[in-house]
Amino acid sequence: MSSSPIEFKNPVLKWVEYRLPVFSFIDSSVGGSYPAPRNLNYWWNFGSLAGIILAVMVATGIVLAMHYTAHVDYAFDSVERIMRDVNYGWLIRYIHMNGGSMFFICVYIHMFRGMYYGSYKEPRELLWIIGVFILLAMMATAFLGYVLPWGQMSFWGATVITSMFSAIPYVGDALVTLLWGGFSVDNPTLNRFYSLHYLLPFVLFGLVFVHLWALHVHRSNNPLGVEAREPEDFIPFHPYYTIKDLFGMGVLLIFFLGFVFYAPNFFGEPDNYIEANPMVTPAHIVPEWYFLPFYAILRAFTADFFMYWPVAWLMSAKLAGVLAMFAATLILVLLPWLDTSKVRSNKFRPINKQFFWIFVADCLLLGYIGAKPAEGNFIIIGQIATFYYFFHLVVLVPLIGILERPKPIPESISTAVIKSAE
């Protein structure tokens, strides 16, 4: 479907369009002139949902910043002032607080969707890689933001995570001092975290822009994984996917605001309603739920973990854990090349489909372990799950691609759709 620029009748639109073609830009980006595969299912809603949440987070964040005081003596009280005395401050803050969880829910589903349907494969490798960096930027932003209310979990979470960097040889301690702006998590830390927490969302916006740019070059993948080519494979984005995304937004808002109004602290830790106290360590320091799988990988690396043995002569177990944690995300950058199969969609990959779900289960298991204290069987299970995470991506994915015999693939989207309609 070739897109010819649309004509505008309204003289004002015409006048603007002639000088700045903003309306045809919109039309070719999310309008009737942007062709999308006709068979996208509801798993394709989560990208736009993540984008909507990003906008909500920025809007509520700007208002919160007007009332927040980034100082160790006032931060906790200023948040409580927002909750008690600022008009609808409780609403704005609960939206922002739960919005973080919603963002990660949408992005994780979005990523698993990409993995299931092979959306990362040629020619969409860069689109996928930019997405991995979006995830990293989100994680940094979320971590920084969680420190700002200056509760016990804010303080101790910040202490644990920043201390990780001390494992880096030679420069580690200097780096941690730089992060802290001193010799412990203190007022300078809070100030720079606040500054960076306000900065990073704009970096996110930039990354999302590039992500969408890359998306618009080769357009969406689809559940069949067969490239849409024929005109009848496509439908215009507007009105078909605009209305579908709007409906998805309605469902998301019911879910999202259901938590905001009826269980606003469901995703939170009670300890964060205790003001930060450097003299009292909480019994269990746990990160927010969306970091738990990575936290489990970090903690899996003990001196007697077999994945640590090959590098034991080179580094401490702590450093190995830190590297493994970052590698767990960064390895996804290589996924387009680790996956040796030419077939995109798991619809036609019976073996890989099973292993995909086992991988999802493994990620959930890691999340479960991350929430548990590092003791007894939890350590062993965490280590096995950590091993499997990397084993799946580095060994199973390439091997299955070579050994598996995929099911026959339809010639085009339209033939498959018409066939299924008959």
Binding site: E80, L91, K244, F247, Q354
Partner: protein, 259 residues
């Protein structure tokens, strides 16, 4: 078959994952399981029982406030739960706050006004510890949110004392035995007992009733927005369900042309 097994394993895991993330202990182990009470503010239509709030304020003022502060609450906030301005002024006037400096540059004390925060019992943490055998009675403003299963936990704690520690448990000097406190040893002496207060409205003054009233009051100090939140939530939910239903209808209509 494999798919079915996988799906059930997955959903079990997913549920376990969700449950575990919300039930991560914020307390050390060692407390007994906490029984649930029925609270007027539970559920989507819950509101605070106004009479219980008044009794709870009385319990706070007569009992808790000798050790515990309530720093995040202002006297004026009582206006949101049915106290008249005269009642609030009369309540605040019993407390003294330091103000100033005056025109001569001197600090002075005056009676508290509705705009002041609840006046705490101690000037600072050191003074509080000095008066309490080294223990620091925490601020109560957020207590029901700052503990897992907060309201039930505090109720259990207040009513969970044992005069004598069970055999084999040696209490440290100045400590008390409590079934629900992590580690079972708590510095706070049993704070409520039968007839500790006298209620003007004739409500029973059993220790359970007193504990119930103070927990109701503390739930309000922790979540003063709760009633507004739930009533606004209902309107928003009705709006969203209707809107989403209409969007779904529109989606069906638009997509019907395709099929």
């Amino acid at each position: 078959m494999i798919k079915k097994t996988l799906t059930s394993v997955l959903s079990a895991l997913a549920i376990a994952g969700v449950v575990s993330t919300v039930s991560t202990p914020s307390q050390a182990a060692g407390g007994a399981e906490i029984p649930s009470q029925s609270w007027s503010w539970n559920g989507p239509f819950g509101t605070f029982d106004r009479a219980a709030l008044r009794r709870g304020l009385q319990v706070y003022a007569e009992v808790c406030s000798s050790c515990h502060s309530l720093d995040l609450v202002h006297y004026r906030d009582l206006g949101n739960i049915g106290f008249s301005i005269d009642e609030i002024k009369a309540f605040a006037i019993d407390y003294e706050v330091e103000d100033g400096p005056d025109d001569e540059g001197e600090m002075f004390t005056r009676e508290a006004k509705p705009a002041d925060r609840f006046v705490g019992p101690f000037a600072n943490e050191q003074a509080a510890r000095a008066s309490n055998g080294g223990a620091y009675p925490p601020d109560l403003s957020l207590m029901t949110k700052a503990r897992k299963n907060g309201a039930n936990y505090i109720y259990a704690l207040l009513t969970g004392y044992e005069e004598e520690a069970p055999d084999g448990v040696v209490l440290m000097d100045g400590m008390n035995y409590n079934h629900y406190f992590p580690g079972n040893q708590i510095a706070m002496a049993p704070p409520v007992d039968d007839d500790y207060v006298e209620y003007a409205d004739g409500t029973s003054t059993s220790k359970e009733q007193i504990a119930h009233d103070i927990v109701t009051f503390l739930a309000w100090t922790a979540e003063p927005e709760l009633e507004e939140r739930k009533s606004l939530g209902l309107k928003v939910m009705i709006f969203l369900v209707v809107l989403t239903g209409m969007l779904y209808g529109l989606k069906r209509k638009i997509w019907a042309k395709l099929h």
